[in-house]
């Protein structure tokens, strides 16, 4: 059964889209990542124009994040103070990257920059996470959880000024650290058109040293606002959000998000990190392959959009 997507201007199978939505929802519930880094390439693969895929992907990610935060609230799994500071940095960062995005797009190199940032970031994050979490897994197997290690290691970042208490995360660190992380993630996600959860979650675990019980909920809290900001700006400036596509994807994602969350509750923290690392590395590997493999066609085309008068019906 096909559904016509009026903004993307293509007709796609409803069940394929619902399945894709379910995959996003499941990941969101499990890891607290929005899934934008998966949904955008998959939508492009199905034939949705890249600009519409990125903007609509951001819109879709809001839904599972809202339900995640709501269930996180009941478990006291959202650190609002931390989330707010991450968000503040994120907004400044994404605003800074809008101009850069427009420039790259004009010279036709946006795809390359996006792909390269993905490969570098996902590759680095994935490898670091995999090594660390496998080590933790081994350690736990050996000691069977008898001894308890320090909550987090002390690094130079703990010497920064503007120290703040984050009771929910049991942290006392400089507010500059989460603000800086938010800025970096916001700048990159502005260029890459994703919420940045896959960068934020590892940063919260390893740099901030947040307990994993609050990482997922806080990440989802931050993603709601970043994704809503992207949705609004893209709708307003470029008219690239397809509501029909978003609604179909959301049907799948809201059904699957609680399933992901249920599985997440059963897994131990380091098992979850191994899984996330494998997923992130898989995506990075695929993108790296696409960059170096000879393309099927050296040429690609882009058709300028028709004006509204010629494409809208009466």
């Amino acid at each position: 059964m096909h559904v016509y997507l009026p903004v993307a201007e293509v007709s796609l199978d409803v069940f394929v889209l619902i399945g894709l939505g379910a995959a996003i929802g499941f990941l969101s519930g499990l890891f607290g990542v929005g899934g934008g880094f998966l949904v955008t390439p998959l939508l492009i693969f199905l034939g949705v124009p890249p600009a519409v895929a990125a903007a609509t992907g951001a819109n879709t990610v809001i839904a599972p994040s809202v339900s995640g935060v709501l269930s996180g609230l009941r478990r006291r799994g959202v650190d609002f103070r931390m989330g707010a500071i991450l968000l503040l940095g994120g907004f400044v960062g994404s605003a800074a990257s809008v101009g850069l995005f427009a420039l790259l797009r004009r010279i036709g190199q946006i795809d390359l920059v996006v792909a390269l940032s993905y490969v570098l970031l996902l590759g680095t994050i994935g490898i670091l996470m995999l090594v660390e979490s496998l080590r933790a897994w081994q350690r736990r197997a050996r000691m069977a959880g008898v001894t308890r290690s320090k909550l987090h290691h002390h690094m130079w970042i703990h010497g920064l000024p503007l120290k703040m208490r984050f009771p929910r995360s049991r942290l006392y660190i400089s507010a500059l650290v989460p603000a800086g992380i938010g800025f970096g993630v916001g700048a990159l996600s502005g260029i890459m058109g994703v919420g940045g959860g896959f960068m934020l979650v590892p940063a919260m675990i390893y740099v901030l040293g947040m307990p994993s019980s609050v990482v997922v909920g806080t990440s989802q809290f931050q993603i709601i606002f970043v994704a809503a900001n992207v949705t609004f700006l893209q709708s307003y400036a470029n008219q690239t959000v397809d509501i029909v596509l978003a609604v179909v994807l959301m049907i799948g994602s809201v059904v699957a998000a609680p399933l992901g969350a249920r599985l997440g509750a059963k897994l131990r923290a380091e098992q979850m990190r191994v899984l996330l690392a494998v997923l992130v590395l898989g995506v990075a590997g695929q993108l790296a392959y696409d960059l170096v493999a000879p393309p099927e066609d050296l040429f690609s085309i882009e058709t300028r959009n028709e004006s509204i008068s010629s494409s809208a019906g009466q």
Binding site: H2, Y4, S235, F299
Partner: protein
């Protein structure tokens, strides 16, 4: 099918009085292709009658739009968009059908004059290029359009029913671009076009799809807020449901 047949008969009945005066008459089964929410591609039937000998060529063209073609090159092991050329005059959609193989009924000059075949489209680069590069970029454009099913890779068949009646079926894929189309019918005899007729066809979004599109373009800010609220509501609903279950 019966409806189309009745249409053909009625049309021929009306047209028969004029037939002696007109060597070629043709029409489409539908002039308005409505892209509704469930649109999954459709067929249009082009039919008509000729007076006397000759072959029929049918060309369906979509609206023209500027198209950017980019070429990748390998830099430091990575494939990068290196060069780009903007072309004008490329139709968004192109389909061709003929009653016999083109090289049996036309000359290259005739094909060029009437833009018969994707290799004959008057696609013009917006900056000067040497002929070799131009040919490569042009071929790249056509290949990409064919991969997206916007241009046909082969010539469709116009079939004659008896000596005078002809018809052809043209497939419009699910991603058919909206806009005003023209269906051009040529009657060819001895490598000459002896009669031609052009019929308009419109492809447009209707119903909810069209309204969403207009909403997105005319009230962009409200549209964006609506999209966000819908997502927030969906998330809340999911949470409420999962708590009950």
């Amino acid at each position: 099918m019966r409806r189309v047949l009745a249409l053909v008969l009625a049309f021929l009945g009306l047209a028969s009085a004029d037939l002696r005066a007109q060597p070629l008459v043709a029409d489409l089964s539908e002039h308005l292709i409505a892209i509704t929410t469930g649109f999954a591609g459709t067929d249009v039937l082009l039919f008509g009658a000729t007076e006397g000998e000759g072959d029929v060529i049918v060309i369906l063209r979509g609206p023209e739009s500027p198209t950017i073609v980019r070429r990748k090159a390998r830099i430091a092991g990575i494939w990068v968009n290196r060069e780009q050329v903007t072309f004008t005059g490329a139709p968004s959609f192109y389909r061709l059908a003929a009653s016999r193989p083109l090289d049996e009924i036309t000359t290259p000059a005739l094909r060029a004059r009437h833009q018969i075949g994707v290799d004959q489209l008057r696609i013009v680069p917006q900056r000067s290029l040497d002929p070799e590069r131009l040919a490569e970029f042009r071929a790249g454009l056509v290949r990409n359009k064919q991969a997206q099913e916007f241009y046909s890779t082969e010539v469709g068949r116009v079939s004659f029913l008896g000596p005078r009646l002809f018809r052809t079926r043209i497939y419009l894929p699910p991603n058919v671009p909206p806009g005003s189309y023209t269906a051009e019918v040529l009657l060819v005899r001895d490598n000459q076009v002896v009669a031609a007729q052009t019929t308009p066809m419109f492809v447009s979004k209707t119903g909810i799809g069209a309204e969403v599109f207009v909403f997105a373009h005319q009230h962009s800010a409200v549209y964006g807020l609506t999209a966000i609220l819908l997502a927030v509501f969906a998330g809340w609903a999911a949470s409420a449901i999962s708590r009950k279950v």
